[in-house]
């Protein structure tokens, strides 16, 4: 069968796609296949099928945190200011402002958070940290604010359906430096909840990249690591 025609044979296409995704082609064959692939939608579909078939193998590999330098180099290469986003170390006032602007790019949440800030009475103490935790449907759901002097945590359950009767919602801080997840306690059911923070808890919030809320079973000892599914999550932004 002549070369170009041979590649139209579905069985040949299937076999080539399989070998390409598995990664067993020689250098020359791989390059030739990539040229064919760019112009053949049938071949592209075959490749996508095999990528999907073998994805569970990739999922079985352990996750490894890449060095921070990769993110910095990436941000620089794309012309993104590292200060625009949540990965940077050290957050000055200007950095916080930029972070805040980064957050406001997320329209629905930002509109809500901004509105939330505007309706606070002028005499209210401004929070030092703010996190707007979104649920799966991307609607603003829980607003967490932390104040200093005295250290205090306020949670407003704006749109947060109660969990199942045999489970409760747990709040966790995800460390910006290590990714470690540490408990900030169990959420109550009141629409607005306020409690004092210990010095250790304050430091957890101060060093947090984001806050997450998981749903955990009520039975047994409260977990020291999240076990249940993540219900809400949001970046932790320093305001002052």
């Amino acid at each position: 069968m002549p070369g170009a025609v041979r590649y139209q044979d579905p069985q040949v296409q299937e076999r080539l796609a399989r070998e390409y995704v598995l990664g067993t082609m020689s250098v020359a064959v791989r390059r030739r296949f990539q040229r064919l692939l760019s112009a053949d939608s049938g071949l592209q579909r075959q490749v996508q099928h095999w990528e999907q078939h073998l994805q569970p193998l990739a999922d079985q590999l352990p996750a490894l945190t890449p060095p921070r330098a990769v993110w910095r180099a990436l941000a620089q290469r794309l012309g993104h200011s590292p200060q625009d986003v949540a990965q940077k170390a050290g957050r000055g006032w200007l950095g916080s402002l930029r972070l805040w602007r980064g957050l406001t790019a997320i329209a629905g949440t930002a509109a809500f958070a901004l509105a939330w800030l505007l309706v606070q009475t002028p005499e209210a103490r401004p929070p030092s940290y703010l996190a707007v935790l979104e649920g799966g449907e991307s609607a603003a759901s829980i607003v967490a604010t932390a104040h200093k002097e005295p250290w205090q945590l306020t949670l407003e359950l704006v749109k947060a359906p109660p969990p199942a009767s045999d489970s409760s919602l747990h709040l966790w801080a995800v460390s910006a430096d290590t990714g470690k997840i540490q408990s900030l306690g169990v959420l109550g059911t009141d629409a607005k909840q306020q409690r004092a923070l210990s010095g250790a808890e304050w430091l957890l919030i101060k060093g947090a990249r984001s806050l997450i809320v998981t749903e955990e079973a009520k039975s047994g000892v409260p977990p020291n690591q999240p076990v249940g599914p993540v219900r809400y999550r949001g970046l932790c932004v320093q305001l002052g």
Binding site: R18, V21, L22, G23, T24, S26, V27, R30, R45, Q48, E51, Q52, H53, L54, Q55, P56, L57, A58, D59, Q60, L61, P62, A63, L64, T65, P66, P67, A69, V70, W71, A73, L74, R77, L78, H80, D84, V85, A86, Q87, G102, L103, A105, I106, G136, S138, V174, T178, G179, I181, R209, S210, I212, T214, Q225, P226, V227, P229, V230, R233, L235
Partner: protein, 183 residues
């Protein structure tokens, strides 16, 4: 999780840098695990991860959700670039005993990240069941080639079997996998 990744990709396509940072935070540990396993050396894996995320940023608009889940799309970007790098390095001349030189790398906290676990759950189900149903030697061969980017010849040397035999095992394993998925 897939819904969240689709949402982040569509925001990236609109130039939302915050969404890109969030996406990176969420999936870079999984993708770095894939790259490092293939390339064995951190500097190469770092470069591949950076290049892959650059492609993700610029190609986010071309991701079509009806053509597969977002994690598969992004894993393919990483794998394809890593395999191209391996090809450029002349991997056929590489020695297999380099396999373990990433063994001292600490497993990320992301392993305990419930969101990362959700990624796994999303990808399990039927595909995972079909992989489990393969004979051990077939699954092992497929996994070793897929994870480590080795050739049939290298696999045959490692298992001390003829190259033709391991090729047959891989082919039969993949055919059974496809049949199982089409049931």
């Amino acid at each position: 999780m897939n819904e969240q990744l689709r949402d982040l990709l569509s925001r990236c396509a609109l130039g939302d840098r915050g969404a890109f940072a969030h996406l990176y935070e969420l999936i870079s540990p999984k993708l770095y695990g894939v790259a490092l396993r293939l390339l064995k050396q951190r500097p190469h894996a770092d470069d591949v991860l950076q290049e892959a995320f650059t492609r993700i940023w610029y190609r986010a608009g071309s991701y079509q959700s009806d053509l597969g889940n977002p994690m598969t799309w992004m894993t393919a970007i990483v794998r394809n670039h890593a395999l191209d790098v391996l090809a450029a390095q002349g991997r056929h001349e590489r020695l297999l005993d380099r396999d373990a030189d990433y063994g001292d790398i600490e497993i990320a906290e992301a392993d305990n990240d419930p969101e990362a676990d959700t990624l796994l759950c999303d990808a399990a189900g039927r595909l995972g069941i079909c992989l489990e149903q393969l004979r051990d030697q077939h699954r092992q061969c497929i996994a070793m080639i897929y994870w480590d980017g080795i050739t049939y010849q290298q696999l045959a040397d490692k298992l001390k079997k003829p190259t033709g035999t391991v090729k047959v095992w891989v082919r039969r394993g993949l055919e059974k996998l496809r049949q199982c998925l089409e049931q």
